[in-house]
Symmetry: C2
Subunit: 262 residues, 2 copies
């Protein structure tokens, strides 16, 4: 599975580090693995559904944890959503994390004609959910844009519901289907590949999410490897629809194998 | 549609009154209509998905609004759920409104092996949703029991997301299907009919919810009428799957027509 590769896409949370209220902790060997990828000459893209912070803030946190990463190397849902909003003249009501709001600074938010939902975390209050619902149900044709559709993720203090669960709540209440920006949307992986200038058959996605990372990348024609860190659970190995090209214990092991094949 | 009827099932919120933080306001003519049904000799059952209060408290509120109603006339989801929990030896983690908790007083809640979700309203916090999710995902075979699956309802201060939306969030996150107690579950309508001693073909359901009230009752072989009060919206009249046997402006009009046919 590791042959003829020119570019790697790395999921971040659960692959580089375990996130948490305290900022998170690096996964052993991952910072070193990123440095080895860069030294090898392979193209590299960090491909995250993180929507709890601007890319600037997100990258700063990872640098603080010892990772060699810059804003220009990150593919994330909020900038992708902004492109869609501008193209289609959509003015969003935002149900997102406070720290993500600056990504939408240049977008007109008056008199909303769509709702954008991200991983709002503590902003997923009863009042905020009702408000987003009322904006949606009040539209003649409700438009709901979701920054990802993850089910849940792991923080240092336990599992948390991810944006996908709240997306489903609004979808059901308003009888609409959300447009998903971010993994596993095909357009999202395609942007990351284009940014690297690598065709899908020469790229490998490495992630901890069997559906969003592995399934999504494979749908795009890439190979995909699941790490046994982050939200990985042993029952993922019996997933009814998705079978990774390989399992590895962690990012360091994946990079060992890939670099041996170069 | 109003001929050969021996029993009526009335939805409560949106038919008798519009609920709200202030206790709600009666819908004009509804209190009088209930009195006329009782005077006519027709059997009567109040069939509600209300799970924000015990039946005792709920009935007291309605009496205060001028309705002739008693606890013994009410079919509601919580007692139905308690029967299921006892039969199957299930110990619930409750995500319900504080005022509903006394309905579960006799149920063992230690070391939970299922989650029961109701319309928890202000209790639908980010923390409580994550907690219910963690209990569910921690089970070998998650069991989720939902007291209804309504999409939303109208209170005096606006539309609110109903239990169905939060049920969908947990279903998606845990990849399970909830067992729904309450309308539109067939067993729920069948209990109400049994309590009246009336067969479905001699009963009419009157409700404001096109799916839960009208669709559910029709699935049971009853006739069903939609009132143009409560959560009714004009677009309900173009519903793709459900067509009521009749529309009426309000309960009073339905009762006028039914009593003329006796």
């Amino acid at each position: 599975w590791a042959r003829a590769v020119r570019g790697l896409l790395l999921d971040v949370s659960g692959v580089l580090y375990d996130s948490g209220g305290d900022g998170g902790v690096p996964i052993a060997g991952s910072a070193e693995a990123v440095r080895r990828i860069k030294a090898s000459g392979l193209k590299l893209r960090f491909c995250t559904n993180e929507t709890q912070a601007t890319r600037e803030k997100f990258v700063k946190k990872l640098q603080g944890l010892g990772f060699d990463i810059s804003v220009g190397e990150v593919t994330a849902p909020a900038p992708a959503a902004c492109r869609i909003l501008k193209e289609r003249g959509l003015r969003p009501h935002l149900l997102v994390h406070n720290d993500l709001v600056p990504e939408f600074a240049e977008i007109d938010k008056t008199n909303p004609n769509c709702v954008v939902i991200g991983d709002a975390a503590e902003n997923f209050t009863y009042a905020n959910l009702n408000e987003a619902f009322r904006v949606l149900i009040g539209m003649e044709k409700p438009v709901l844009i979701s920054l990802g559709k993850g089910r849940y993720y792991k923080e240092t203090d336990g599992l948390k519901l991810d944006v996908g669960a709240y997306m489903k709540a609004l979808e059901y209440a308003c009888d609409v289907q959300a447009e998903v920006v971010g993994k596993p949307a095909k357009t999202f992986f395609e942007s990351a590949l284009a940014e690297m200038g690598v065709p899908p058959e020469q790229a490998i996605m490495i992630g901890d999410d069997i559906v969003s990372d592995v399934g999504g990348a494979q749908q795009c024609g890439m190979r995909a490897v699941q790490v046994r860190t982050g939200k990985y659970r042993p029952c993922d190995e019996n997933h009814p629809h998705v079978k990774p090209d390989a399992y590895v214990d962690n990012l360091a092991e994946a990079v060992d194998i890939i670099l041996q094949q170069l």
